[in-house]
Amino acid sequence: MQVSMTMNGEEITREIEPRVLLVHFIRENLGLTGTHWGCDTSNCGTCVVLMDGQPVKSCTVLAAMADGHDVRTVEGLATAGVLDPIQQGFMEEHGLQCGFCTPGMMLTARALLDANPHPNDTEIREAISGQICRCTGYATIVRSVLWAAEHPAELVTIDEEVGA
């Protein structure tokens, strides 16, 4: 079957089997490997992407179900070479170690900040409670989100950050 959707602002159309999971569609059909997967039971949240602005577990959504919708992945967080404050916050506050859960965590945090620009510790913890991080112990993720909330206009270009 044919599916079309807006992926990180770009209209895309692909021919797929109806059973293709959205996470596989993103990773394999579109080659956007920043979205990861970590379980088969929608428990770990590693595969979280934004669908119409809301975090969803892309291992439990069919690509067919995303047809006609707006999907945003980690690759769509930075725009025109400018990092989203949440990306900068994760670097500033050591919100990541192995980096595997990080894209999903950042997207959920982005949606949280869009809805609630000044969340408290508990609200942040609740928002990410469907996602598991095995490395950080969460406190630095909470700090990263708080950093982003405090620096909404903090914009850093890719070139500066990479130190190229």
């Binding site: 080659g31 990861h36 690759e75 967080l77 192995c98 991080c133 969460y138 406190a139």
Partner: protein, 797 residues
């Protein structure tokens, strides 16, 4: 020259945000991870790549009657279906383990645990491979399984390993440490002896990324490129050469970005070997990535120790001795990854942080019909089990003596002046000031105030508990005269090149799984040479590009590879001195070092920076005899001893008396890991380990039913803490450098995982004191806590 002039003449003038050397520094690896540009195993796509899937046994113990692959092979897109019989023809049906046993790659005779590998399908895509698994027809003759380690040595227990000639029981080994007679004498003379059973159930490291491999065998030049989720690429290369018979120079192992390891990615799993076989058979690259159930059911578990502990003391609370008998469940194959001499890992550091007169432990390993493994999940080769035992026993003694558990510990610590301290089981602790660390932890916690609060709450019927753990780790394996893995000495190499413009590349043999090696190791070189960390590239994870070494586990990266990197930088520094002397037309002994440059003693204005020297080394300066025209060096570091990081942890819990639900309200962790390279990374390592501790103490367990079914085979039942179960961590530190380590660093990777579970469990027991509870086993789920309150707690295994 512009590039060089960008940096100050003395680059040691780093600031707080951009330290030259040690200090808080944002990680060099993060810009790619926050953009989703990490490169993990499942992100690798090679031209023509095929996908593998493993058919696994549905039962724990069964004789294999037949396998019919006809229908699966006939399916479109399926290229190969490999069975144990096929592997027998290649002499690959069995592979050696890291503990001198063998493990079936695919079942040939008998299934020995649920989830064991039975057949391997190779297909054009992963959907087709998965579909074909259902078409393989396997007939089993089900046998009674051995699921309870306590019954594994019963005379009528089924013999699991009948593949080993002459084997008539499920016994693997007996191993002991310490002086049994001395311990007996001390116990006989003691005023007080407390005994209790302490169980550390089976848990699983469950990194967020599962294990996987992409094998690419080039039939023309015979070279195998193997991308693997491995924490030890060099050791894997050597073992693959030994197992598969491919010459070692024709194997390149690449470990890409790893989505967490925690010891889960040390072993060589059948799936890796099958991907290689698949690639050889089809002539194309083959990817195999396990799903979450496969990860939880078949790869390295951790712990599974049943420990009978005894502690002896005088009436006034002087601890005299410690004894334990351990029953160790190793599963169906003895596949633990640990130094050859030590079948129970470093468990014999169970004497902990205390000055004892005697100690003795005996460990018996048995086979059961469970997945193999045992040394994983940030355990420091079973220091986890040892610390859990001793810290539970010390608390039991405190209860018996009606002494405050902090006071009892303070009274019995090894004193600073006793270091280096030889314990009763053969370890030489390098350095420590335990009292200082303990007192800092109590100060941060407000220990006396917490005890007052607890007293008030108890009077109101509220259940609040305060638990303490003081742990000493032994990490950085190890001196190669004592420690090897399948004959490979546990040393690590480092190569450093300073390019003509003063930028450097350091190549190391350990592999990051998230610890931030690209940053930490750059900072070590930076500290030694004064080159800014951003000008130092750290290369790791590719055996064709890095020197040999044993890899990352047991918190050994900084203790071993960190030592290697510091030494190789110092070697470069010494070479730079000779070149600088030639450039300045003076004698080397007339030069003095300040961070980043050699200068003439008494005349600091005359000197050469490392960058200037690098250009000189590659330039036209006449070099002294014996000095090669470069600024490169290499070393292999064989550590003289292990390092002994330690910490004092205090946990505060509240228990709901109506439901048994435990809430960790506060957790205070004061760690001493010696010299601190990047405090931000250290804190992150501690936070992660504390969360592991909450997981193990409260919810994580791999359980089995009597029929052999794994009850923890998905994240629906293998529960890992979320942000809601953990408090905002309170951390502190003391610094007691290791005297024998090149930079005094001791390692931090596993301290918190090792140290935190007993603090939490001791807190739960403390909370339940009004109910007369003196012991509870992990995990302290609501149901288990409630059972303990009713006086009928049962061990989980």
């Amino acid at each position: 020259m512009t590039l060089i002039e960008e940096h100050p003449a003395n680059p040691a003038a780093g600031d707080e945000d951009r330290p030259i050397g040690y200090g808080r520094l944002q990680r060099k690896e993060d810009p790619r991870f926050v953009r989703g540009k990490g490169h993990y195993i499942d992100d690798i796509v090679l031209p023509g790549m095929l996908h593998g899937a493993i058919l696994r046994a549905p039962v724990a113990h069964a004789r294999l009657v037949s396998i019919d692959t006809t229908e699966a092979l006939a399916r479109p897109k399926v290229l190969a279906v490999i069975t144990g019989k096929d592997l027998e023809g290649l002499n690959l049906a069995w592979a050696p383990t890291l503990s001198a046993d063998v493990q079936a790659v695919l079942v040939t005779d008998k299934v020995r645990f649920q989830g064991q590998e039975v057949a391997f399908v190779v297909a054009e895509d992963r959907y087709a491979a998965r579909d074909a698994l259902e078409l393989i027809d396997v007939q089993y003759e089900v046998l009674p399984p051995v699921m309870n380690a306590r019954k594994a040595l019963d005379p009528d227990a089924p013999v699991i390993r009948d593949d080993i000639e002459g084997r008539t029981d499920n016994h693997i080994f007996d191993w002991s440490a310490g002086d049994e007679a001395e311990a007996a004498a001390v116990f006989a003379a003691a005023d007080v002896v407390v005994s209790q059973e302490v169980v550390y159930p089976r848990v699983h490291p469950a990194p967020m990324e599962t294990c996987g491999a992409v094998a690419d065998f080039d039939p023309i030049d015979g070279k195998l490129t193997l991308y693997e989720t491995t924490q030890a690429p060099h050791a894997h290369r050597t073992l693959f050469a030994m197992v598969a018979g491919i010459p070692e120079h024709k194997i390149r192992v690449v470990s890409p970005d790893i989505g967490g390891g925690f010891g889960n990615k040390v072993g060589i799993y059948p799936g890796y070997i099958l991907a290689v076989v698949g690639s050889i058979v089809t002539g194309k690259p083959v990817k195999w990535v396990e799903d979450r159930s496969e990860n939880l059911m078949s790869t390295s578990f951790a712990r599974d120790y049943i420990m009978q502990g005894e502690i002896a003391a005088t009436k006034d609370g002087t601890i005299l001795g410690l004894r334990t008998q351990v029953l160790a469940d190793h599963g169906a194959f003895n596949a633990t990854a640990q130094p050859t001499k030590y079948p129970a890992g470093f468990f014999h550091i169970f004497t902990g942080s205390y000055d004892l007169k005697a100690a003795y432990c005996k460990v018996t390993g048995v086979y059961t019909n469970k997945a193999p493994g045992g040394v994983a999940y940030a355990c420091s080769f079973r220091v986890t089990e040892a610390v859990y035992l001793v810290e539970r026993m010390v608390d039991a003694l405190a209860r018996k003596l009606e002494m405050d558990p902090a006071e009892l510990r303070l009274k019995n610590f090894i004193k600073p002046e006793q270091f280096p301290y030889a314990n009763k089981t053969g370890w030489e602790y390098d350095s420590g000031d335990y009292e200082k660390t303990m007192r800092l932890s109590m100060e941060i916690a407000g220990y006396d105030e917490l005890r007052r609060e607890q007293k008030e709450k108890r009077a109101r019927g509220e259940l609040m508990g305060i638990g303490i753990s003081f742990f000493t780790e032994t990490v950085g394996a190890g001196p190669r005269k004592h420690m090897d893995i399948v004959g490979l000495g546990m040393a690590d190499g480092a190569e450093l090149r300073v390019h003509p413009t003063g930028k450097a590349v350091v190549r190391i043999s350990v592999q990051s799984q998230g610890q931030g090696h690209e940053t930490t190791f750059a900072q070590i070189v930076s500290e030694e040479l004064g080159i800014p960390p951003e000008d130092i590239d750290v290369v790791h994870g590719d055996t064709d590009q890095t020197p040999f070494g044993l890899g990352t586990y047991g918190s050994r990266s900084t203790p071993v590879s960190g030592g290697a990197v510091a030494l190789v930088a110092r070697k470069v520094r010494e070479k730079a001195k000779l070149i600088a002397a030639a450039m300045l037309e003076t004698r080397p002994e007339d030069l003095e070092w300040e961070k980043g440059r050699w200068f003439v003693k008494g005349d600091p204005s005359v000197g050469k920076t490392i960058a200037e020297i690098a250009l000189g080394a590659h330039g036209t300066v006449a070099l002294p005899d014996g000095v090669d025209g470069n600024l490169d060096a290499e070393v292999t570091y064989d550590p003289p001893n292990l390092t002994f990081p330690y910490g004092a942890y205090i946990c505060v819990v509240d228990v709901d008396p109506g439901t048994g639900h435990v809430k960790v309200r506060r957790f205070i962790a004061v760690d001493d890991c010696g010299t601190r390279i990047n405090p931000m990374i250290i804190e992150g390592q501690v936070h992660g380990g504390l969360t592991d501790g909450v997981g193990m103490a409260l919810m994580e367990i791999i359980e089995f039913d009597e029929d052999g079914n794994n009850l923890g085979g998905s994240f629906m039942d293998y529960l890992i803490p979320t942000a809601m179960e953990v408090p905002t961590w309170e951390t502190g530190f003391t610094v007691t450098p290791s005297p024998h380590h090149p930079i005094g660093a001791k390692g931090i990777g596993e301290s918190a995982t090792v140290g935190s579970p007993p603090a939490i469990v001791n807190a739960v027991i403390d909370a339940l004191a009004p109910y007369g509870v003196t012991s509870i086993d992990m995990p302290c789920t609501p149901a288990r806590v409630w059972a303990a309150m009713q006086g009928h707690a049962t061990p989980p295994i």
